[in-house]
Symmetry: C2
Subunit: 320 residues, 2 copies
């Protein structure tokens, strides 16, 4: 079964890719063998991340970029990390509108993934989903995510080029915003640049970049866009292409790909080692007993972990 | 040494607590034995979480709540989760101002923790830090964090009572904001209620709460505050006290404490199992070799993990 699904994905089947993403999103063990099979087929796509605060116009911008890429004949995959509300049970409004717009175009695959679960589950599912769209043969895979949260920052860091989308703001907001967002941008956009303060915001970001210790030879450009009017989109794509050239010419792409492998392996290791401990080191009922004792403060989590590790050192699951 | 540090913390030494928090923040192994020793002394503090978007006035509000608690003779511990910018290298402005204000009061312990690292490191350090301030004997421990990120949401979920701080906004922003934030609030505050739209925002939040499937018998109140003028702070403390009464009378507190133990244990398990695999299952050089092979797409992360787990099943670290 899994070989068939893998073959369909690498042959370009959108339905197969959608199905596989559902499996990885649910952290379904059935996905593992398929992911192994498609790994070799991935590694060709350009991966771009788009992030910014709520209301910055990320969806509209990614939409405009998609339209331009389609005009150039490129195929597109989009993973929208969607803060799901239990109140609505689904995606926020912007994504729904956008999905309709490209819904008849087979060259655009859009998938929303919810920020549910914890302990990094979303991050791992997103990395897998990007690999799936890569193996599907998409020329460009875009990750779109809101926010300044650590998970979201981590996700955007897995992209070759990270685009940070801001809006014209007053001085105070920039203070708050730069924390967590400025550090990750390879390209900065001041979207909704027809609003008051766009140039001032652009200048402030430029100044902050000037003051920052330079991480690399690349100096992030700061562009003005008006995504809903299609303005600045060509320039955005040119900036991303320049960053790509920089990555290639400076050999940073190789280093980046290795960091990406490390990140992927360590995340998976964390997940699977935890599963292993819960399923094969602890006996049924052990977890409940430990939790009761910790809650009653008869023991503490650190001592319980020591016990588990000691068991593993003595012979792992054989002790069962 | 660790017994001495543990005794000092439980005897109320602020310096010892600060030192121990630094150890857990660095995930220093030396902290483990101390954390074991103080576990029994913790479990008495009320733990409150405060979250909201940048610019909502969280620091000012937590400051006003602190002043009121001090008037009541209660001791306070504050963990401020601070999105660190590599541009400034430190905390954002608001925290620095506040720290000065209470800096001469031994009854207020404020500690900023940076959102650095990934794979959940901050979350675990925060849980530990809260336990330390609890063991230190603080009556109330407050966690303050920006944002809608999953990590931040997770952190706030570890509080007995979660307070979500919003500001008067236009309709569109509420759409974007509610996702991720509304789900976690036990108490909602519309801060800066002297700004236009405060009542409208309050009504919209109330409506959204009415429409939401009720998770529990508790209906989150929605209050208006003007933190920098001290308005609404007494009402905020009353709302938190009512939520406390609800937790106690409904027996939800017991269930909550057990969930907190589970969360704490699983987070630690994830961390320590990963360390174990890297330090005791892999041989020196193994990780580099695996990463090279994954990057060259000769193998894939899933196959590498399978190899590690197989090794563990055959006898764990003994295979070394």
């Amino acid at each position: 079964m899994h070989e068939e699904l893998a073959e369909k994905v690498t042959a370009g089947s959108i339905r197969a890719a959608a199905r596989l993403i559902t499996l990885v999103e649910n952290r379904d063990p059935a996905a593992r063998e398929v992911m192994k099979s498609i790994h070799r087929a991935a590694g060709k796509a350009q991966i771009w991340g788009f992030t910014g605060p709520p209301g910055a116009g990320k969806s509209t911008l990614v939409d405009a970029v998609t339209t331009k890429l389609r005009e150039q004949g490129k195929t597109v995959g989009i993973i929208a990390i969607d803060p799901t509300s239990p109140f609505t049970g689904g995606a926020i409004l912007g994504d729904r509108i956008r999905m309709n717009r490209h819904s008849l175009d087979e060259g655009v695959f859009i998938r929303s993934m919810a920020t549910r679960g914890h302990l990094g589950g979303l991050t791992r599912a997103t990395v897998d989903a990007v690999n799936i769209l890569d193996a599907l043969g998409r020329d460009v895979v875009m990750i779109e995510t809101v926010g300044v949260g650590q998970d979201e920052v981590d996700i955007v860091k897995t992209a070759h080029t990270s685009v940070v989308i801001l809006v014209p703001t007053l001085g105070d907001d920039i203070q708050a915003m730069k924390a967590g967002i400025l550090e990750i941008g390879d390209v900065f956009l001041i979207n909704k640049a027809d609003l008051d303060g766009a140039t001032r915001t652009q200048v402030e970001i430029e100044m902050m970049l000037d003051l920052a210790p330079r991480r690399a030879a690349w100096r992030p450009p700061v562009l003005k866009t008006i995504a809903n009017a299609g303005e600045g989109i060509t320039e955005t794509l040119e900036a991303i292409a320049r960053h790509r050239d920089y990555l290639l010419s400076s050999n940073e792409l190789g280093a980046f790909n290795r960091r990406r492998s490390e990140w992927e392996l360590l995340g998976l290791l964390q997940e699977q080692m935890t599963h292993f401990a819960l399923a094969e080191v602890l006996r049924p009922g052990d977890l409940d007993r430990h939790l009761d004792a910790i809650t009653a403060r008869q023991t503490d989590p650190f001592s319980v972990i020591d016990e588990i590790i000691t068991k593993l050192r003595r012979g792992g699951s054989a002790a069962r």
